[in-house]
């Protein structure tokens, strides 16, 4: 098996961004969440290669004097963490409900499938806005930074689990009718052991593909929510928050605050999507052997 060049590049880029984000506290020049380190005198300095640039701030600073490189690294860390958590939560909930619906059938299937249909009839962002907006009302003002990531994960998960559940339900229906499942039913194993021990390993591969593609989607949803102001607060910015902050200054000629976080976001999402597409084709038996 040979990796196409585009996939290889995407893998390297995604890995670099994710690694840099994970290591942000150790490699970032400053800590953008530490308000004491900020100096308003440093605000709105353009990137270092421009005439008014400052060698301390490679990509310049934002309106509060935060180093943009550090802000992007920390912001990507927040975005990716929320994306991964949302994918994990969606996958776990979706797989569990999909197995139950497919294996038990009857009213369990009817309830899960109809709830899923209703949820899918709303656009992702609308539902996420609703959840994030509502949840904000219940969080005490001072603890927003602590609670917001969980709220965002919930807001994304409430829509995304359906896709996993549908996929797993379909494959479970197929596997359930096979004789190896009948054989363990005759042995008398309880339903949960059959579902987890026998059916799950046989339905999991498409789930991994969906998870990869959904990771990009989840990062985007989080960025959108933060951009619209219902996501991460400016004191603990994600990539979306940084773009929102920068957006207010674009027309004043201060383009770098919005541009660099946005470029990071685009590259990250693109790389993950290329990987996801490739995985999907790899696991699609109809496309196999065409190479």
């Amino acid at each position: 098996m040979r990796l196409p060049l585009s996939v290889l590049i995407a893998a390297v880029v995604a890995l670099l961004i994710i690694l840099a984000a994970a290591l942000a506290p150790w490699i970032a020049p400053t800590d953008p969440t530490d308000l004491r380190s900020l100096n308003l005198l440093n605000a709105e300095i353009p990137p270092m290669w421009t005439a008014e640039g400052d060698a301390r701030f490679w990509l310049g600073t934002d309106n509060q004097g935060r180093d943009l490189v550090s802000a992007i690294l920390y912001g990507a860390r927040v975005s990716i963490a929320i994306g991964l958590a949302a994918v994990a939560a969606s996958a776990v909930i979706g797989i569990a409900l999909g197995l139950l619906a497919g294996y038990l059938g009857g009213w369990v299937d009817a309830v899960i499938s109809r709830v899923g249909d209703v949820i899918l009839s709303f656009p992702t962002i609308l539902l996420a806005l609703l959840v994030a907006g509502l949840a904000r009302a219940f969080v005490p003002q001072g603890q927003m930074t602590v609670w917001m990531p969980f709220i965002l994960v919930g807001a994304i998960t409430i829509h995304d689990w359906v896709q996993y559940a549908r996929t797993v339900r379909g494959s479970t229906l197929v596997e359930r009718a096979k004789d190896y499942v009948r054989a363990v039913r005759v042995i008398g194993l309880p339903a949960h052991r059959i579902m987890l021990g026998h059916i799950l390993p046989n339905v999991i591969s498409p789930v991994l593909v969906i998870a990869t593609i959904n990771l990009a989607g989840a990062v985007l949803t989080e960025a959108t929510l933060s951009f619209l102001g219902v996501g991460m607060p400016p004191t603990y910015p994600s990539l979306g928050t940084l773009i929102r902050i920068g957006n207010e200054f674009v027309f004043s000629g201060i383009w770098w605050i919005a541009l660099f976080p946005a470029v990071t976001l685009v590259i990250l999402v693109l790389a993950v999507n290329v990987l996801g597409d490739w995985l999907r084709d790899r696991f699609n038996p109809k496309l196999r052997g065409r190479e």
Binding site: K178, D179, Y180, R182, A183, V186, I187, L189, H198, P201
Partner: protein, 546 residues
């Protein structure tokens, strides 16, 4: 006149990495018009490849590397498929296009090859359908394939093969997908067409009974080579080649009962010891009823809430299986035999009726007293589980072994008892052949220490020689452990070789239930008689006076 001559045909498939599979190796045969020549062999023998080569259907990377094929004296390049050669394939459902009416499918070849007008083509279609024994040809022409029965569909396929008056018809397993009674009709039709129209038929089949029933000459293939060739009577009665002898010997006979199937190779002493070890698991043999089935009904409902339709898959079935006996359920597809088995195994809840286990009260463990072996060993083993884990699962779940080490020891014993090496536990199911997989399925079923083993068509998807081994294994296990067996099959010869008592099912009911010998020597019910008459078997040679 010679319809087909094959001289030294060799077909090779490159496997990559420089290796080459020789699917057919120097095969020669000649076939006269009006003659039926059978190509028999087990899967992978190369019989289908020869059929495909004659039709010019060897797809790249496959390649004819040597030899030549002449159809009525003409090389294959000058021959038109569909006009000079007719083709009949195994599954009539897939060889007809489901989106077109029979008329357009029949007329296509007529208009293309014979340049007939629409009206002439229609008249010829009616004539053809009448010739293949379709009762109402006009109506058949207006039908879509799904509106016809399996037998009618295969008749339509044969009519299409005959449409341009070919001198040669290649039939690849033409009756394998059909029930016995339909199979008998189609075989008779092919024999009649060969005789009356003087068509040469190249019949590819794995079924020795079919060969005995209609073939004039036969070639037995083994790993791409023709190992035996000649008139059907001499090849089947007095084969010279060792493989041919073994293959014919392994065919279950319907005319008399043997204690074991002849299989080359001696008994394995390891297996015997392991089987004796299994005796510990089963409690001393009991007598009397093991399973009593009373008035079993299974109904399937379909349609909406206002137009309820119900179908009775099992319609008031009652029978008793005695401890230690082999009970057979036989019948054609859709007769309800598998549904009955699923109810006994606890997979389906019956609409009404009861299944009582006498054996259940005597077992001390919580394990289910009934286990099941399924038809297709490729679907019945979880592809993601190592064999050892799969076999250990019931043992650990029911705490039939005290420690994990004990369970591993039990797994090794089970593997040896079914004639496999204990190291098989390390591997995944895909590393095993069909016959070995069926052995694994049997081992898994035995792991839960059942009193009753249900075998649903356990050998239908296996080659004859492998079938013989599996049936011998089931017999040996029964003898060693006193297991009660419920054997479900559509194959009357297998049933005869294995069973003590037999129930014949038709349309959800048991129409006849008697001892094996009585059933085969003096069948009482008309349906049983017609089934027995329809089975293609080796003793057809006697009936044909060959």
């Amino acid at each position: 006149m010679t319809a087909l001559t094959i001289e030294g045909l060799t077909v090779r498939y490159p496997l990559g990495a420089g290796r080459v599979l020789t699917a057919v190796d120097g095969a020669s045969l000649s076939l006269k018009r009006g003659e039926i020549h059978a190509l028999v062999g087990e899967s992978g023998a190369g019989k289908t490849t020869i059929g495909a080569a004659v039709m010019g259907l060897i797809d790249p990377p496959g390649e004819i590397t040597a030899g030549r094929i002449l159809i009525e004296g003409k090389p294959i390049a000058e021959v038109r498929l569909g006009a000079d050669i007719g083709a009949v394939f195994q599954d009539p459902m897939t060889s007809l296009n489901p989106l077109f009416r029979v008329e357009s499918q029949l007329a296509e070849g007529l208009r293309h090859h014979l340049k007939l007008s629409a009206r002439a083509a229609r008249a010829r279609s009616v004539e053809l359908l009448t010739a293949v024994g379709i009762a109402d040809p006009e109506r058949c022409l207006r039908s879509y394939p799904h509106q016809l029965s399996g037998g009618q569909r295969q008749r339509v396929v044969i009519a299409a093969a005959l449409s341009c008056d070919p001198g040669l018809v290649v039939a690849d397993e033409p009756t394998t997908a059909l029930d016995v009674s339909i199979q008998a009709q189609i075989l008779r039709l092919m024999r009649d067409l060969a005789n009356q129209r003087g068509i040469g038929v190249l019949l590819v089949t794995h079924n020795m009974g079919v060969v005995a029933e209609i073939a004039d000459t036969v070639s037995i293939l083994h790993r791409g080579r023709i190992v035996e060739q000649g008139p059907v009577a001499s090849v089947l009665r007095t084969p010279q080649d060792a493989y041919a002898q073994a293959l014919i010997g392994a065919v279950p006979r319907i005319d008399r009962r043997l204690t074991r199937f002849p299989v080359p190779g001696a008994q394995d002493p390891v297996a015997d010891t392991a089987r004796t070890a299994l005796q510990r698991h089963t409690i001393a043999r009991t007598s009397g009823a093991m399973i009593e089935v009373e008035n079993l009904v299974v109904e399937y409902r379909s349609g909406g809430p206002f137009a309820r339709k119900s179908f009775r898959a099992v319609d008031g079935v009652s029978f008793r299986i005695n401890a230690g006996e082999v009970f057979g359920l036989v019948g054609e597809s859709g007769c309800g035999k598998t549904t009955t088995a699923h109810v006994i195994a606890g997979l389906i809840r019956p609409t009404s009726g009861v299944v009582k286990f006498a054996g259940a009260a005597q077992t001390t463990s919580r394990a289910r007293p009934v286990q099941m072996v399924f038809q297709d060993p490729y679907a019945s083993l979880n592809p993601r589980l190592r064999v050892g884990r799969m076999l250990a699962e019931p043992i650990l779940f029911y705490r039939l072994a005290r420690t994990v080490a004990d369970a591993e020891h039990d797994v090794a014993t089970l593997l040896q008892a079914v004639g496999l090496d204990a190291t098989a536990a390390e591997r995944f199911p895909h590393a095993f052949s069909g016959g070995q997989r069926q052995r694994l399925a049997i081992a898994r079923a035995l792991g839960a220490r059942p009193r009753v083993l249900i075998c649903d068509e356990p050998t239908s998807s296996l080659d004859v020689s492998v079938q013989a081994q599996i049936l011998n294994l089931l017999k040996d296990l029964r003898d060693a452990t006193g297991l009660t067996l419920l054997l479900i099959s559509h194959d009357l010869a297998v049933i005869r070789q294995m069973c003590d008592r037999i129930g014949v099912m038709q349309a959800g009911k048991i129409v006849e239930l008697s001892k094996a010998e009585t059933l085969f020597l003096a069948p009482a019910h008309a349906y049983t008689k017609s089934l027995l008459a329809a089975v293609p078997s080796l003793d057809a040679l006697d009936r044909r006076g060959l």
